[in-house]
Amino acid sequence: MTSPIGEDDLAAWIDGRLSPERQRLVDAYLEGQPDVHARLREQAEQARALASLFAPIADEPIPATMRVAAIRGRQRQPRWQLAIAASLLLAVGFGGGWSSARWSGEPRAGIAALANEASDNFRVYAADRIRPAEIGPDQRAMLIRWTSARLGERVTIPDLSTAGYRYGGGRLVATPHGPAVLLLYDGPQASKLAVLTRPMQIDKSASMTSTSSGTMGRVTWAVDGIGYSVVGERPAAELHPIADEVRRQADAGLVS
């Protein structure tokens, strides 16, 4: 006694998921049903086309943020811990930033490199009158998604309106150390400001350092492996309060 051929058998025939006994039975049935056989063959072909259509997506390397270790690391750290760490760093950064500015000594390689990348990109993009930003200020979410995926870190867009700077869009830029995000701001009297952010390999944590390049001031630091450099056509000392605000918002994880 065998059970009759069913819809489920035909579906499994298409997918090649029949047991050997059932396969023989269905094959024999299809011999006598050329129309059904043709239909199933056509549908099997379409199923294969569908699989190959989407197959390349699974070959893409997965973002680092999707590693279980990365997810666990984020989930293990309670929010209050982050808040305390942020306020400590803020205090340290304040003192450290000022003193290193006074020493005017050589800043460490990682941070110094980041500061130079910031002013190089500022020189090119802030001066651009046609298209300074790739993604405009009205598409914050898109910029965050895009650049976060490329950097493997959650990117935030600081709101600097209290300092008189309006967010004017951003873009992904190339640096010798990989991709970075350049955020552009428009200030009073057509003045410009930019924040460059990227993951840091060398200075994973560094207090605020003020430097200058020509007429440009730069305030640069790193927290938890992420480097920040605030750059503008102003003395670095004037940029310092703005940098503090950027850091406060980044540490608080404020996402606009």
Binding site: I14, Q43, Q46, A149
Partner: protein, 183 residues
């Protein structure tokens, strides 16, 4: 004996068991999300969300198979997302994003064929499209699909049959105008 015991312990601690269970699923999860949304960034956002939930709720899983459990989390996120999306009426016309989002060059012949296939797929009722994608693209078993979607096995089987018939019809309808234009 001592040697063997030592090497066993080594390989067991090589990879975190949670990572070993979840990470191999990530490429498929990204593919499933993108087959729904076509927008790489948005799809990856939902996969990220799914993974955060899976890691956070790992202990509440209670013996369920890992693959259908994780796919079910993502599937529910996709359904919710789509519902909000449709309500807001912000769906992106799919032909504009196909080639880019699927990560393939828009090559002539294949491009046309892929476009037909995508259009037919999108014209299917959601419940049929879902089982078609989970079975033919993700390679889930019929039982796993039933668990992901939360319907009996028999329902999965009839949805897959109806879905395939409908897809074949849609593809034939799509072909006709082109044949006419050649003549």
């Amino acid at each position: 004996m001592a040697h063997r015991a030592a090497s066993c312990r080594c390989s067991a601690t090589e990879m975190d068991p949670l990572a070993a269970a979840i990470e191999p699923l990530v490429p498929g999860l990204r593919r499933y999300a993108r087959s729904w949304l076509r927008d790489r960034a948005m799809a990856d956002d939902l996969v990220q969300d799914c993974l955060e939930r899976a890691v956070g709720r790992w202990r509440q899983r209670r013996g369920t198979e890992v693959r259908p459990w994780v796919y079910a989390i993502l599937h529910n996120l996709l359904v919710d997302h789509k519902r909000q999306h449709v309500r807001r009426g912000t769906a992106v016309p799919l032909h504009l994003v196909d080639d880019v989002a699927l990560g393939r060059p828009a090559d002539q012949d294949a491009g046309l064929h892929h476009r037909d296939l995508l259009r037919a797929l999108d014209a299917l009722p959601e419940e049929q499209r879902t089982v078609l994608l989970l079975i033919s693209v993700e390679g889930l078993s019929y039982g796993e699909v039933a668990a992901v979607v939360g319907v009996p096995l028999g329902t999965v089987m009839s949805r897959i049959s109806r879905g395939r018939d409908r897809l074949a019809t849609l593809l034939r309808e799509g072909e006709r105008p082109r044949l006419r234009s050649i003549r």
